[in-house]
């Protein structure tokens, strides 16, 4: 728990802010910009960039106070990749200019971000990626194919990892950029998912010019920068402070409480087992968010994300079993282009199917377990032949 004085101070600040910016009388975007400028956006970010270097654990206090006042929010589900992945990476590796340019519109929801990491040949083995960036004056020229890019169709900016030096081992020759999704040579094609709609995409990059000023981190240091993104991604998915019965467990608990006809005695023990698992995961996430300084999560994030994915799948599977006949129905298979991932507003069948992606996106559960085994427990890694070979000489 943060010190009470800090919490009290914060509540006072928010009170004063709300007095000066009546949510009902202020344009939502103006309100969000003012909230950012007052350091009341992401509290753990530094002053001047939307925060006050406060402990992460205070964020729920602010969110609750703003929500209670009926303040507009930045629709976090629409800009999850920006908030959870791009922003902490920019914060950790960006120049002052880059932070100035990108963080405010990102947080305010003016600009959506996407993540151009995975490629057809480089998923779990991200460091095998083949998208080339070649220096040309003040620019880089990028050519390659990315895949499974969530929300690329909505995005204004992308975080992008490329290969800049094929002659060194794969982890060394990568460079990280911010890509303008409206630049010539960027082509986004929908990829339809098992749920029916196309939330993710293939992205073809053909001779796209990226100014060197949009590089994050040093040339050749892209792997380290990408690691920061990935660790933050996992914390964003699995960590954070949530109230009891938030998410999938809440949906089940609600059904069990309010609909006696779904109470199947044989499933009660499973429900309660999962309830305990959800509460354990929640408390772990809370503990994690209290420990983290901005931008530097460790492998614990992998554990949180693994637990989240496993739990979501078990819960959504159980929900269908509880519902029986209703579980045999689906809401809509039509091919659509959503702008959020909506677990709550869709049908139980959608939740069941969409949760299958949770153990694949953001690092598969198998990869997360490898990380825990090798980086946390120090167990020996798999025998690998691909580490010290120049990327261009790797078998493919």
């Amino acid at each position: 728990m943060p010190p009470l004085t800090t919490q009290h101070d914060l509540e006072n600040q928010i009170h004063d802010f709300l007095a000066a910016h009546d949510p009902s009388a202020t344009d939502p975007l103006d309100f969000l910009r003012a909230r950012f400028d007052a350091g009341l956006a992401w509290l753990h970010y530094p002053p001047g960039l939307g925060g006050q270097s406060l402990p992460r654990g205070l964020q729920p206090v602010a969110e609750q106070a703003f929500a209670a006042a009926g303040a507009p929010d930045n629709n976090p589900r629409r800009i999850g990749i920006g908030l959870g992945m791009a922003a902490p990476t920019i914060l950790a590796f960006g120049t002052d200019e880059q932070k100035e340019r990108w963080l405010r519109p990102l947080w305010c929801g003016e600009e959506v971000w996407c993540q151009l990491f995975s490629e057809p040949g480089a998923g779990s083995d991200l460091a095998a990626l083949a998208t080339r960036a070649v220096r040309d004056g003040d620019d880089w020229v990028v050519t390659g194919q990315k895949v499974w890019t969530s929300m690329a169709h909505e995005a204004r900016w992308a975080i992008l990892v490329t290969r800049t030096d094929p002659d060194v081992p794969k982890h060394q020759g990568m460079t990280y950029f911010v890509l303008d999704m409206t630049a010539p040579g960027v082509e986004v094609r929908p990829l339809r998912q098992i749920t029916g709609e196309a939330e993710f995409n293939e992205v073809f990059l053909t001779g796209v010019r990226v100014p060197d000023a949009h590089r994050l981190g040093a040339v050749g240091d892209g792997w380290r920068v990408a690691q920061t993104t990935l660790m933050n991604e996992r914390v964003a998915i699995g960590g954070g402070a949530a109230p009891r019965e938030a998410g999938m467990i809440g949906i089940l608990a609600e059904a069990w409480r309010t609909r006696p006809e779904v109470r199947e005695p044989a499933l009660h023990d499973r429900l309660m087992t999962l309830w305990v698992a959800a509460e354990a995961a929640r408390l772990t996430g809370l503990r994690l968010s209290a420990q983290l300084a901005a931008g530097q999560p460790g492998p614990e994030g992998s554990a949180a994300k693994y637990a989240f994915a496993t739990l979501n799948q078990q819960l959504s599977g159980l929900e269908l079993e509880l519902l029986g006949e209703e579980g045999l129905r689906y809401d809509d298979w039509t091919m659509r282009r959503p702008d959020t991932v909506d677990f709550v507003g869709r049908s139980p069948g959608y939740r069941y199917l969409r949760a299958k992606g949770n153990s694949i996106e953001g690092g598969t559960s198998e990869i997360l377990l490898n990380i825990i085994a090798e980086r946390v427990l120090g167990l020996p890694g798999e025998i690998r032949a691909d580490k010290d070979v120049a990327w261009k000489d790797l078998p493919r």
């Binding site: 098992i194 499933l267 006949e325 045999l328 691909d386």
Partner: protein, 365 residues
């Protein structure tokens, strides 16, 4: 008795014929494409399977134009259909046939089913646990029913019925009796179903003419049990195909310079799945062979085990394919949706375990 757990030579021949047909006529790309058309069931394929190969009349006695076979042969067909997630009303037709066979005076219906002239389905929610057919809300006049009534009138609604969309004849449980109703006399509305390859429908009866088939539901429970037994074999086939597809993929997909199937994290899970599928085969065979008191136990075991294995196999199939397994353009989702849906059909595994607890005298408290 252990011989019964194997496949006979005629069963292998039947399997080969069905597999050939499905290989030629129901590749997954076509199965997928059909899911978004106005005809979710493949009428031509059903014709070829039902009358060409004789799957529709499998249980019907030879003198009525059928094959005079047993649930064991039907189960072999179901295995192959599960492998292909084929959109044909075999299971529903089988349930209706099993029911008509148990009722007196149904020869004419059975003849038409075997000849392919009519396809029948039992109008009952797909999720109905055998023995639970009473929760139905169709009312009937005249009441009480009298033997020989051919002009009863039925009114009410039955939801989530499998394989009734392509049926011509519906067997409708109403007020404790069973009636034959022409599908043309009811309104069927296709349901947007989790399983896109076995689309359910809601049935509205508004003073629909019906012919009394039998008073009482005991034959119905029996037919549902038979259908659930055969469904276990469909689940077996589905699980086998998912395993085969996955094994094939993890052998060829390389990450970190190695086939991903070389990682024990995947390899051991696939080996475990194989063990469970081998058990599912024994369990599914037993379910369609057992008689007497053993039958109820065998079917409950099969439904509890095979449905769980099918879901696991389909879930592992998606997971081990990574991103590609999460896409519409890969067949994995067709199997996942079929597997999860069949795990809710005829009651969930939990319900079957609970029923089993009664049957083998292991009360919960």
């Amino acid at each position: 008795m252990s011989e019964e757990l194997l496949y006979s030579e005629p069963e292998d021949e039947l399997r080969a014929a069905v597999a050939d047909l499905l290989g030629a006529r129901a590749p997954w790309t076509e199965v997928l494409a059909r899911t978004e058309t106005a005809e979710p069931y493949d009428a031509d394929l059903w014709k070829a399977l039902g009358t060409g190969i004789g799957a529709a009349g499998l249980l019907v006695p030879e003198e009525l134009g059928g094959a005079g076979a047993s649930l064991r042969e039907a189960a072999v067909v179901a295995e192959e259909l599960g492998k292909a997630v084929a959109p044909v009303p075999f299971l529903g037709s089988l349930g209706a046939t099993a029911l008509l066979l148990a009722l007196p005076g149904c020869d004419a219906w059975l003849r038409r089913i075997a000849s392919g002239e009519q396809t029948a389905a039992v109008a009952i929610p797909f999720s109905t646990l055998p023995g639970n057919g009473r929760r139905n809300t169709v009312s009937v006049t005249p009441w009480p029913p009298k033997e020989g009534i051919t002009d009863a009138r039925l009114t009410g609604r039955v939801t989530g019925v499998a394989d009734a969309l392509p049926a011509d004849l519906l067997i409708v449980p109403a007020d404790g009796s069973l009636y034959a109703v022409q599908a043309a006399d009811v309104t069927r509305t296709a349901v947007t179903s989790l399983d896109m390859t076995r689309v359910l429908c809601d049935i509205e009866l508004d003073d629909a003419p019906g012919e009394l088939l039998a008073i009482g539901y005991s034959a119905l429970d029996d037919a549902l049990t038979a259908t659930a037994a055969v469904l276990a074999s469909e689940q077996l086939g589905l699980a086998e195909r998912c395993l085969a597809m996955t094994v094939e993929y993890v052998k060829t997909r390389h990450q970190f310079g190695r086939a991903v199937g070389s990682y024990q994290g995947l390899k051991h899970r696939l080996a475990q799945l194989w063990v469970q599928i081998a058990q599912a085969r024994a369990v599914a065979r037993h379910a369609v062979s057992a008689t007497g008191d053993e039958r109820a136990i065998a079917v409950a075991v099969a439904q509890a085990h095979c449905s769980t294995v099918a879901v696991l196999a389909a879930e592992e199939c998606v997971q081990m394919h990574g991103g590609i397994g999460f896409t519409w353009e890969h067949p994995a989702h067709l199997y996942l949706k079929r597997a999860k849906s069949t795990s809710l059909a005829f009651g969930t595994a939990a319900r079957h375990r609970a029923r089993l607890a009664e049957l083998v005298a292991l009360p919960p408290s």
